[in-house]
């Protein structure tokens, strides 16, 4: 899986670091918990900056090369930060045959970014996801935790307007 790696400087807070250290402390006895630690770390920071991967590798005494290998293997791990609103359009089969691509193209056109990118003001990021299991509502997209179903391209402008504060 090809990954976009961020050039935006790392801005972690001491609180985040304290949370991460507690997490590492709790799991460092068991190297099979690596993925769990990385998932939780992503929940703390919103993504997995290189600096955090280094902290995990050192804290859990696992070679950095392995941590990096895991973070680039799985689609869920994001090496670049997401926008304030992350739009994720399902491109699973059920959504695809019902026209999800045209929905994605429309959002891309309106925001001027491609899937996997973030707008310059940091408000929106866009990604194509796999089936989220709401195929009955296809085509489907998520904006953070809000789910929108039975979409058509002409609804997009109205939906995006709700988030442009």
């Amino acid at each position: 899986m090809l990954k976009k790696i961020s050039k935006i400087p790392f801005k972690g807070t001491p609180e985040q670091e304290a949370q991460l250290n507690a997490l590492i402390e709790e799991n460092k006895h068991d190297s099979s918990m690596l993925m769990h630690v990385m998932q939780q770390a992503q929940a703390i920071y919103g993504y997995l900056p290189f600096e955090v991967q280094v902290m995990i590798a050192e804290g859990m005494d696992i070679p950095l090369e392995k941590v990096y290998g895991v973070s680039t293997f799985y689609a869920q791990f994001s090496l670049s930060p997401k926008g304030k609103y992350n739009i994720s359009v399902c491109l699973g089969t059920a959504c695809y045959v019902k026209g999800a691509q045209s929905v994605l193209d429309e959002i891309s056109k309106q925001l001027g970014i491609a899937a996997g990118e973030c707008t310059e003001d940091g408000i929106f990021s866009l990604e194509a996801s796999r089936c989220i299991g709401a195929c009955g509502l296809a085509p489907v997209m998520n904006i953070n935790d809000d789910v929108y179903g039975k979409l058509t391209p002409d609804q997009i402008a109205g939906i995006l307007a709700k988030y442009k504060d």
Partner: protein
Amino acid sequence: MYRSHVLVCGGTGCTSSHSNEIIEKLESEIAAKGLQDEIKVIKTGCFGLCALGPIMIVYPEGCFYSEVKVEDVPEIVEEHLLKGRMVTRLLYEETVQEDTVKSLEQTKFYAKQKRIALRNCGVIDPENIDEYIAHDGYQALEKCLNQLTPDEVIKIVDDSGLRGRGGGGFRTGLKWSFAAKNAADQKYVVCNADEGDPGAFMDRSILEGDPHCIIEAMAICGYAIGATEGYVYVRAEYPIAVKRLQLAIDQAKEYGLLGKNIFDSGFDFDLHIRLGAGAFVCGEETALMTSIEGNRGEPRPRPPFPAVKGLFGKPTNNNNVETYANIPQIILNGAEWFASMGTEKSTGTKVFALGGKITNTGLVEVPMGTTLREVIEDIGGGIPNGKKFKAAQTGGPSGGCIPAHLMDTAIDFDNLTAIGCMMGSGGLIVMDEDNCMVDIAKFFLDFTVDESCGKCSPCRIGTKRMMEMLEKITEGKATLEDLDKLEELALYIKQNSLCGLGQTAPNPVLATLKFFRHEYEAHVVDKVCPAGVCKGLVRYYIDAEKCIGCGMCARACPADAIARTDYIAPGHKLASFAINPEKCVKCGACMDSCKKIQAIYKK
């Protein structure tokens, strides 16, 4: 005692259309009317008819309300729950009869279904262990631990003829006997809930609607093969399923149904959840185990099989969620009961997730041997908008498509393999005349190119090369020779890849080449996409008879491809415009600019 029960679906589909708010509103309205001791609201798992969600069923009448909105709740409470008058406008039409309602079993959607794996979905509250126990829950485990030896348990499962529902169709009883035979200080039971086929949601619905049945089945498997620990590997995209499963595990521990000395039998069993992180190959069992161990989820060569050397190097049995969901019922009702359903070599039922161009998108469970026509036309309600059925895709990115002339094939493992398709895990995506089969093949290949783990070269490089050929075809740049090359490469990848991902990745291409070669040839020879999907091949036209000559399209065109002709249509004042296909970049801006007159079309 409550006089009425209101069941609201809390599955992912209905939750996405706000069923949680509906439940909150129901509870507050019921409390406002002082009915809280008479009416009980229950959040259940998936009822199956996701197309009509959010769904609400009121018992004892059995009223099936569909597409309920939060605003409808006060009316339902006031009219139905308080005054006893059904809100007819919200009833699912199929259930409406003169002045009563038909039971759900009589509707076309449910009549041909037989629910075993889904028996509790949409019936019980999955977050309450007592409801599961009231529906015979944990009785099968008790029977195994106190009345049957491990060998007897395996024999029942084997005699039932149950085959793995994860796609391969391997006999479950036989698989258990392999793991049972290998002595070791520690063995494991694994449940594959990775459900990688995009567009399939059977396993998710079972975990969300009836999590305890998976726990019970895994404990039974542990007893049968001599394992005391189990792992459920769930996709991270399924947060509701993970939450309910964790809750169920906690409750089972509290009741002593997991942990030490279960039912005073001396048998110990413990269960853990591990989350996937979005890698399709992790559905493959050896990759799944590598992933549980905390590594990149790359597959391992087999042999050694997991029954010999599986998770953490110990003998392991892995089954799919739906496979496990059948186990408690088989133990309770006997092998003959299960074997009496379905076909000779594929016993029991199969759950399908109907999606795509079909009226009743949702979840259905039918006896093996039901024909595709029955599933699509009777249960699924046919194709919406008067369109024609073209094909159904089973088995997702590893499977193939079934064309219209094979719709009367009885669905079971062997019949589908015989027509060059596969059962797969149960995703069934319907396509109509507006879908281009070459585009669909390209869609699946794009998926496998992205998901190939890169360990073996036939899969890593081969699928990429196939993708390039398909791109050439959909852009109208290919020759007939390319079709032969595509087929040859596909067969080579199938034979030489390390794991099931690569071995099956060419299937969608091979199946579409077999049944829809004429569509490929139209792209290659005539340079047209018959369904009008492939962007590189569509052409935009201006209907000279409709064009009023306003020139909006020419102004919208970024490529200067539109110019005025000297033809004036009868009844019009200005000469019409035409598009120069040599210059056209197919952006569609002209068509957008002509929304009012609609003189521009694409083909």
